[in-house]
């Protein structure tokens, strides 16, 4: 369906919105990136970039990063596909629960998986040593791949599930009616149609895994990757240009892969092309296939549940696996002064950022789909930078850019917002990071929803005299409230659990929960890590639930896509 853009001149609301959006994007992501690039050209930085392939150490790091990224992308996509296919095509009891369990890792705090996996499957893991008497080393490549795959497979799962469900069931039946058996239909019809989904998921998982900082720090051991090296450049070598250099090396593949992924995502449209899909898809009945799929599902689900059970238990025993006596000392310690400020601050900042991110994402989506004629693609891309750029890079960029006021020719155009001496003790910088990192999700779902909603609905509003702003508020927003809500939930959960950019931005006034978790994980005090994770999860569930209730009151059901015959 061709996207119809508003043919009339931009009205005042649109103009203001456009300027605002561009300005926000500039200060929230583009300027820090520019500074990274500038700094990486300074001596210690440019050395890294220039010798990226010739210097043995740097080359090894690059190779480590690539290997890890590709492995996680492959394993995560495979797991996501198996789970999605089982959910979509196999009949069994408990589908809803399974679906939820598959999504839990998305709101998982950093280190929850890594620490739990070590406790369960490490050298003295409860399962590995306790039951099988193995002593596998998970530090390094194996642990990283395992933990990252578990953490990110839900992305592939959601992607592929959506695609599977949007496949016209008649396609399978057409194949059957032409004499192809189920396996052949799967091979020649289903799989090829899912290729855009596979490609998209693969690439996304690649980006997410190479951008991750938390897990390489805890379970990476000596397996150095670009993100952890950039971090060490700041903390070990105290060399900002060097960190910028590594950031640049990390940024390049991330951006490239991101661009390629967008190409594949657009190819998705090929899937539901002919006429109107009808009927339901036939479930898998072959006993072998069922057995295989259900076993994998069962194993994976059990694994995820075990991880969370460990987190829960670990919070309430002294030293899980070593001294399992029940205790509340971790919570007493944390809530007795160690983490109170962090709980308050993190929650408040995340709550401030959440609606901002939600509205910002929707605004961009609306501008891209409805209003902006030329440059819509560019705007969409810029809006997505927040997640295309690795968190570590953003954090370093912010530290470089906002530790001092931003001056152009001696005139301050943006105050200092990061660092202890900044306004509000650096809270602004953190909110900015939260916003730019979580708005892309809302933007994406907003865009896909808006693409399905007939623009003539908004034209009707305009023809009745409602100016742009009014239409957006009274007509568009309620219709996309589903996307808006999920954008809000994601923004909140993500902000509460993000680590990589925040590490560089904490100040005496602002302490953030994830940073506290890192500190404790670092010291090996896993009891506190688990207790903090529990607190985080509870906070997210409670507040997430409240947000959900609040927005649902204003929701308009968009179960049937509002497409008028064209």
């Amino acid at each position: 369906m061709a996207l119809k853009k508003s043919g009339s001149k931009y009205d005042i609301f649109t103009k203001i919105a456009l300027v605002l959006v561009v300005a926000i994007i500039f200060f929230l992501i583009v300027l820090p990136l520019i500074n990274i690039l500038i700094f990486s050209t300074q001596p210690t930085g440019s050395v890294i970039v220039r010798n990226a392939l010739s210097d043995e150490v740097t080359r090894q790091i690059l190779w480590n990063t690539m290997k890890m990224g590709l492995s996680v992308a492959f394993l995560g996509t495979l797991l996501g596909f198996l789970m999605a296919y089982t959910q979509a095509r196999v009949d069994f009891k408990g589908k809803k629960i399974l679906h939820i369990i598959n999504l839990i890792p998305i709101i998982s705090p950093p280190f929850a998986f890594a620490t739990a996996i070590i406790v369960l499957f490490g050298r003295s893991g409860i399962i590995t040593r306790g039951i099988f008497d193995w002593r596998p080393t998970l530090y390094g490549y194996p642990g990283l791949v395992l933990v990252l795959s578990l953490s990110f497979f839900p992305i592939a799962y959601m992607n592929l599930l959506g695609m599977l469900r949007s496949l016209d069931p008649a396609l399978d039946e057409a194949g059957s009616s032409l004499g192809a058996n189920k396996l052949r239909v799967f091979r020649t019809v289903t799989l090829p149609l899912l290729i855009p989904g596979f490609a998209g998921s693969f690439l996304l998982l690649f980006i997410e895994s190479i951008a991750d900082l938390a897990n390489p720090l805890i379970i990476g051991g000596s397996y150095t990757v670009l993100a952890s090296r950039a971090y060490m450049a700041i903390n070990g070598d105290y060399d900002i240009p060097m960190a910028a250099g590594y950031s640049f090396l990390l940024l390049l593949p991330a951006l490239l892969v991101f661009l390629v992924q967008r190409y594949w995502a657009q190819r998705k449209n090929v899937v539901s092309v002919t006429g109107k899909p009808s009927g339901r898809s036939t479930p898998v009945t072959s006993p072998i296939a069922r057995f295989f799929l259900l076993s994998v599902t069962f194993l994976l689900t059990t694994l995820i549940l075990m991880v969370y059970a460990t987190v829960l238990l670990g919070a309430f025993v002294r030293i899980i696996g070593v001294e399992n006596s029940f205790t509340l000392e971790h919570f007493r310690f944390l809530l007795g002064g160690f983490a109170n400020a962090a709980v308050k601050t993190t929650t408040i900042l995340a709550l401030i950022a959440t609606p901002l991110a939600g509205i910002f994402g929707m605004l961009i989506a609306w501008l891209v789909i409805r209003k902006v004629r030329r440059g819509g693609e560019a705007l969409d891309f810029l809006g997505m930078l927040g997640i295309a750029v690795p968190g570590t890079v953003i954090g370093i960029g912010y530290a470089i850019t906002y530790n001092d006021p931003v001056k152009v020719a001696g005139v301050t155009i943006f105050p200092q917002v990061a660092g202890g001496a900044a306004i509000l003790g650096g809270a602004i910088a953190i909110v900015m990071v939260y916003v730019i990192r979580s708005s892309p999700a809302g933007q994406r779902s907003g865009i896909s929803l808006l693409q399905q909603i007939d623009p003539s609905i908004e034209e009707a509003s305009a023809s009745l005299g409602a100016a742009g702003g009014r239409t957006f508020r009274l007509v568009t927003l309620p219709l996309i409230s589903g996307a808006f809500l999920s954008g809000l939930m994601y923004a909140f959960a993500h902000s509460m659990t993000t680590l990589s950019p925040i590490i560089f931005l904490v100040t005496p006034d602002i302490s953030i929960l994830t940073q506290k978790i890192l500190a404790e994980a670092d010291q090996g005090r896993y009891g506190n890590v688990f207790a903090l994770c529990c607190m985080l999860i509870v906070l997210i569930m409670i507040i997430g639930g409240l947000i959900n209730l609040l927005v649902r009151r204003f929701q308009v059901s968009t179960d049937r896509p509002l497409v008028t015959g064209r």
Binding site: Y139, S222, I319, G419, A519
Partner: protein, 384 residues
Amino acid sequence: MTKKRTVAVGIVATLIISLMAAIAPAHAARDLKGSQCGREGLVRTIKGVTYTCERVSGKLQYAEGRKLSGTLNVLCTPQELWCVEMTKAFQEKTGITTKFIRLSSGESLTRLIASKGNPEFDVWTGGPNDSHISGRIQGVLDTYKSPTRNMLKAQFKDSDGYWTGIYMGALGFCSNKNELKRLGLKAPTSWNDLLNPKYKGNIMMAHPGTSGTAYTTLWSQVLRLGSEDAAIDYMKELNKNILSYTRSGAGPTGPLGRGEIATGLVFSHDCTAAILRGNPLVVSFPKEGTGFEIGGIALVKGAKNPDAAKAYIDFALSAEAQNIGPAKAESFQILTNPSARYDRRMVNLKKVTLLNYEAEAAGVAAAKLKARFDKEVALTSSAK
């Protein structure tokens, strides 16, 4: 007595009492300047005026009081719990709103450098003093000689006043009793013990790039073996047995406690703290001699609240403050103030051979030596 007289006596009594009250100085408003330092501490704040103890012609007496105001921002490197307690104590004592963040020594230095133009912090407390020396070299520190300095041994201070020592820790071996038993080993007592193939994949230490502890380990090798080359060679050998390098010095205590490895190279006070939390560990020291760290405190250049910072430094050097470590913060470093209490859980220095650790030399050599470690040792860890 007649009614008239009673009233008269009452009036006179009231007058006398009022007069006495007017003349007699309020205990709280007493000016401490010049009076002898008492048991109450080397730093005392009365009605927002802080007096610090000084040695003047052989006598310890309170010097000119400073009226403190504003907020104090502390950059704190040791354990977070210690930072929390110290901050609380200082705040209670002086009434100054005190805030801190805890960053490792590397992170701290970078933050200071990054905010050089507009310093976020007033004072940098804790962390091995070679990073303070690096700080001096980078130009982010200022000098301040607290009067209490005079009480400290020479090794706990520098001549210019850029840093002063507030604690000291000895580097040692921290071993898991059960793992040692399983491997048929005794707690190591020599650096060479660690090269035993039985330890393969069973040792952890921090990475010198990010951890002061690890750099201390590295520099200790230079000291005892005589040259940087020899040190790197030793580390290459040791690397074969190392499972992985952690980010922070105390990092190995986690896996140690869980029995994933047999031995870790950590400061003995970190090991002690872990033991007290319930981990089955045991401390031992190498007979050839081991390195140590001196935790330093320094005034940040361009501090927004130098007066409060100086008062904080005075406070940190006082016995009262230093006693907080073992008492409330599970920190068992040796304390530098001679009047501070020796806690039995602290290391007994008489039983440990210390190498002649010179922070100055260590600090100067840091950058290049760490780079060498990165290139020749760190990324080749293949131990399983």
